[in-house]
Each structure stands twice: as C-alpha cells, then as structure tokens.
Symmetry: C2
Subunit: 385 residues, 2 copies
Amino acid sequence: EDAGKLTENMSDPYSTDPKRHPVLHPASVKPFNAETPPFLLVQQFITPNELFYVRNHLPVPKVDPETYELEIEIEGKNKTLSLTLDELKKLPRHTITATIMCAGNRRSEMTKVKPVKGLSWGAAAVGNATWTGVRLRDVLALAGVDEDAAFKHVQFEGLDFDPTGKTYGASIPFWKAASKRGDVILAFEMNGVPIPRDHGFPVRVIVPGTVGARNVKWLARIIVSEKESDSHWQQNDYKGFSPSTDWDTVDFTKSPAIQELPVISAICQPSEGQTVQTDDGHILVKGYAWSGGGQKIVRVDVTLDEGDTWHVANLDHQDTAEPPQHWSWTLWSARIPVKPGTKTVQIWAKAVDSCYNTQPESFKNIWNLRGVLSNAYHRVTVKLQ
Amino acid sequence: EDAGKLTENMSDPYSTDPKRHPVLHPASVKPFNAETPPFLLVQQFITPNELFYVRNHLPVPKVDPETYELEIEIEGKNKTLSLTLDELKKLPRHTITATIMCAGNRRSEMTKVKPVKGLSWGAAAVGNATWTGVRLRDVLALAGVDEDAAFKHVQFEGLDFDPTGKTYGASIPFWKAASKRGDVILAFEMNGVPIPRDHGFPVRVIVPGTVGARNVKWLARIIVSEKESDSHWQQNDYKGFSPSTDWDTVDFTKSPAIQELPVISAICQPSEGQTVQTDDGHILVKGYAWSGGGQKIVRVDVTLDEGDTWHVANLDHQDTAEPPQHWSWTLWSARIPVKPGTKTVQIWAKAVDSCYNTQPESFKNIWNLRGVLSNAYHRVTVKLQ
Ligand SMILES: [Mo]
Ligand SMILES: [Mo]
C-alpha cells in the first residue's frame, strides 16, 4: 500500500466498512444504510443475511473476536463483570426468530404530506432472521441481578463511535431485559452463521418486538441502571410527536423513547407504478405485516376500491409462537378480482394484530417531524394489462 | 308476600336483580346493561361503584357468602381445590386500579355506517376502579400450578346461568393468569367495599388490560386447561372480523377471541349536539383514553378542523404505573381556540399509547358485524354560543 492510500483511509473512517451486496438499495452511503428490494423481501420468511437491511449510525467497527470483551456494570456496585466471547458462548444458548425494523421504515411515504428529517426509507427497512446467542437475563443473573431487582433500565453501548469518541447507545426497560418472556438475547449468530460485520459482529443485542435502534450492534457494555441511556438516540431522536409539533416547538423530554413498535404492513409486490398482468381477471398482491411487543398478526385486509370492499389476505408464512412472544413477521398474499377494462387500481393494505390494534388510515394525522412510526395504510397504484 | 308476587318472581329470573342508580342509562333492562352519563364519567379518576357501567349477560345470581365456594380444577388432575370466601381472604392481598371496558363500548357510532348486532352502547361502557383481592397466580400455586407449567388457558365459570342451566364462561391465556406481571386478581372488594352484586359479589376475576367479557363475575370455578373456554361468549362472540365479513360468511373459528383491547379514547364533554359557551374564545373538551395490555396513554390529540391543526391535550389524571402494567385510563382535557363567529364545530380526538399504537380514523374500515372494537376517532359536533 502506498502512502496516499493510507492517508485516504485515515481520513475516511468508513473505508474499513464491509462490502455489501449490490442489490441493496442505499438510503445513505456514509454511514451505510440500505434496504432490500421489496419484491425480494417477500420471497422468503427468513431474510438472507446479505439481503438484510442495514442501518448504521456510524462507521462499522473492526472487532477482534480474540480480544473482545463484554462489560456488565450494575449501578451502585463497584465490580464490573467482564466476559470474553468464549465465556459468553459457554452460557446456555437460546435461539429466536425475530423481525427487526427501523423506526423510519416507510418514512418516504410520510414525507409526501410534509417534509420530515431522516433517511428516506421505502417499505423494506425490515427483515426477519433467526438469532442465536445467550439470554440477557442469564448474563444479568451472572452479574447478580434477577428480574425482581428494583432497576428500571438496561443500557447498551456499542463499539461504534463518532468523531468525538462518543459511542452509539440505547436502553430498554428493565422488565423487558430481565424477564424470560422478554426473550432478549445477546446474539452471536444470525441465520446460523457468525453475525456479519454490518449486523453487529461479534455480539448484538436482539430485543424482539422492539424498534431496531435498541438492538445495539457491536455490543461493548451493558449498564443496569435507574436511568435510561443518555445517548442522543435515546433522548433526542426515535420519539413520536403530534402532527402539530414542529422544530420550533419540539421538546424531546415530553415524549417517551420508542420501544415496542405499533402494527404495520406493506405491499411488496406489485410495486408503485408497475404494470401488472392480470391472471383470469385477478391480480396477485404480496406483502408483510408485523406488530411489536410480541403481538401476532391476526388479519390483513386488502382493498382495490378505497375500502368499499375489503379482501382478507392469506397468511402464507407465520411463526407458531403465541403472543406476547410472537416475534416474526407474517408474509401474506391476496388474489383479488378486478373489473374487466380497469386500467389503473390503487391497492390498500392494513393489518390487525392480536390486541386488535390496527393501522391508522392516513399519514396526515400521524405525521411527525422525524418521520418515524410511519404505519398508515400502504397505498400502491399500478397499471393493469 | 302473597302467592301472586311469588309466582311473578318465579317466572321472571330478573326479579331478584339489585336496585340500580337512576342516573345509569340502560342499553337493556333484562339482562340489565347500563352506562354512566359521559359527563359524570370524567368527573373523577375512580368511578364510584353506583355509577360504574353494568354489563350482565344473564340474571344476577344471589350468592350467600357463608356457603360460597370457589373450585379450582387442574386438567389431568383428579383433585379439585375448593376455597371458601374466608379461606380466599386469608391469602396475601393485592390491590390494583384498573379500567374495565366492554368490547362493545362506542358500538352506537359504528352502527351508523351499517347495522351491527349488539347492545347500542355509547362511549361510557367503561369505568376505572380499585380492586382488592388475591392474586390468581397465588391460588394456582395452591393448586400446584406455577407459571412455568405447560398449560395454555385458564377458564372461568360464573354462577349466572341461562334457562338451560348453562353458566357464563370465558378464558384467558395461561401466561396472563399465572405471571406476576399479568396482575390478575380474584377480587372481593371494589373501591374499598365488598363488590356490589351487579359487579360480581362475592368474587370477580379482574383481568387488567383485557376486555370486560373475560373479567368473569360471581366466579364459581377456575379450570386450568389446554383449551379455551367452550362457552358461547368465548367461541361465537367477542371476536373481530373484516368489514367484508357478513352473517352469511362469518366463521367464528377463524378469528381469535378478543383479549387485550386496542387503544381508544372518547370525548365525554361536551356531548353531541350540545350548545357550548365559549370562554375567552376557547372551548373546553374533556374525555378519557385507555389502551389494553398494560399500555399507557402517551398523548391525546384533539382537532376542530378535521386534522389540519391538532392540539395536544393535557393528561390531567394518570396512574404512575409503568407499562406493561399500566391498567388505568387517563383523563384528559384541552382548551382549544375557536375562530370568532364560528357557529358549529366538529371535535375529533385520538389517543396514542406507549407502543405508539393509535386509533383508526373511520368506522367504515374497521366495521364488523358484531360492532366490537369500535375505537375509531371520536367525533362530536357542538353548537357554539
Ligand atoms: Mo432505526
Ligand atoms: Mo362486554
């Protein structure tokens, strides 16, 4: 390597980022953020690692698994527990299949109402994978903390850091971290192989049913605390607000950090503007639906006539786990008749979860300045042939 | 008493029903079903017993507390545990404040889209009370069942019965019944006094965060089981369906029994059609908001211009309990400016819960043949003076 190359690398903290699959559609390059092409997303229940959406806030750290250590700190205790990767892997293993979704998934639709701040995600900042690791509650128990302890939050710090040296951070409620039903794991495998660098190698916390932002990658430190993480992403980002709140009036202390996500669905096939071949007078519509908090999708309704007629979709792929521990999305399809001679149709989809929560109809009434929680009915207009 | 009176009583199983407060607004008389006047509902955080909505499916049983016995049956075990009221009261006591809501609350608004089957409830088939009793999980433990047991459901049978002798019944998921976090109690006190007859004297199961129909009154029997209750109300009622499902196509086996309820809110003051005095160019709007599953209300938005401007309501009364164990409703108010000269306004309200689930906008798209889960935006039109 010549000096020029070395200097270039030093000035660009992203130069050591991993290679990505060319089919991923970037929302930003540095940091790298990219989503799966929607039609590929609904091809399989388990999203392949190389097609899984990537959401990085900072450069991808290069972590040596031989020297990696996870620290567990309990507020008010002097001693910090430290675990190497080998020590972590010796604990009882636990595998869950869980969907991870970005808080900003489908933001690009909300933006059409009025501009928002954030990456312009389509409907595929989401994926479903099998994660293997150890239960966070088992690690907390090693550190002397059981689920009846009086703590309120468990904070996570990543190994990724900004130019000032500040690391990525987030926290989740203590009950979620410490309870068996919470199913939170410190994962070292994604779909049966070591977690790829873009997804948190060597250890990522998987907080099923909870927004991606709390599923901290390249996990360095766990802090059991009375307080939430004081990180930017916990305190001044990833929160919902009223449509009437703008950047002049927003007070981030007034809204809770997003944790469990609301019910959502999206049409992944056909795509907006596509020309669709009808089959014996029908069109085929495919998509996903999911709800946070371990809720299961119980129904997906699809309409071609603005809700005058709703068609109940087939739930083609769904995990058998019962709520409130149902962590995976549901893939659905509907074959819907169209009137002969129809040139254009707008397809709407909405999902219902096991609490019978359903999606809001329009973006206008859920608009928020950060463009998060963008779960209004998905509407896709297609041409028919 | 003369013979005529006796005969009358014999032919009318409702003749021994208790007296009710005259201010309750009946949806049906036999069985007695009645709701609180909405403006009274939001006067206090704890609904007084005599104003609490009543939802009876059958005549109110007359239960002698001296001879009352609660039976606990574990499927696959021969022995049934039996507890007298005194024995039950000797177990550790637990008090929770929880909102109970009828699945059909606000049905009368959904009916306007298209007729549905069911009692024509307004927005006040809901109340918030303090319930004291013993934890169901403690009673299950006495019967030898702890939360890690492999059962799936806990069934309840009431002492109320139909003309064929069939009792009211319901069931809840085992995890909810057996977990500490579920907070299910066998209550014998409501707001500090023995539970009134209309509300389940001497013992009612309180399943906080879960639809009223599973909060079985006059509790006679608990059955820990692999299966749901086979009662009419569990199997062929209290389920949600697509707007396209009608009585010819409905298949009750295809939808899950309603358990935890979705987020809802209602405007209780002013009422539909009321003439409102403006105060310094403002009107005052008051209501409640609540979400099932132990979720907390994090925001209520109110609009007078169909969503062009949303006003964030004050959350005047809210329990301090954290989700997912926040069982009480939130009372809210908003003082909203009106343009001078305005003669009529339509007020809309919508709530957001701690999962950031929010209400659907219109009844058209959530309509269902039983008129349950009627949680679209509440819209109230008033005249201004
Ligand atoms: Mo995210
Ligand atoms: Mo009900």
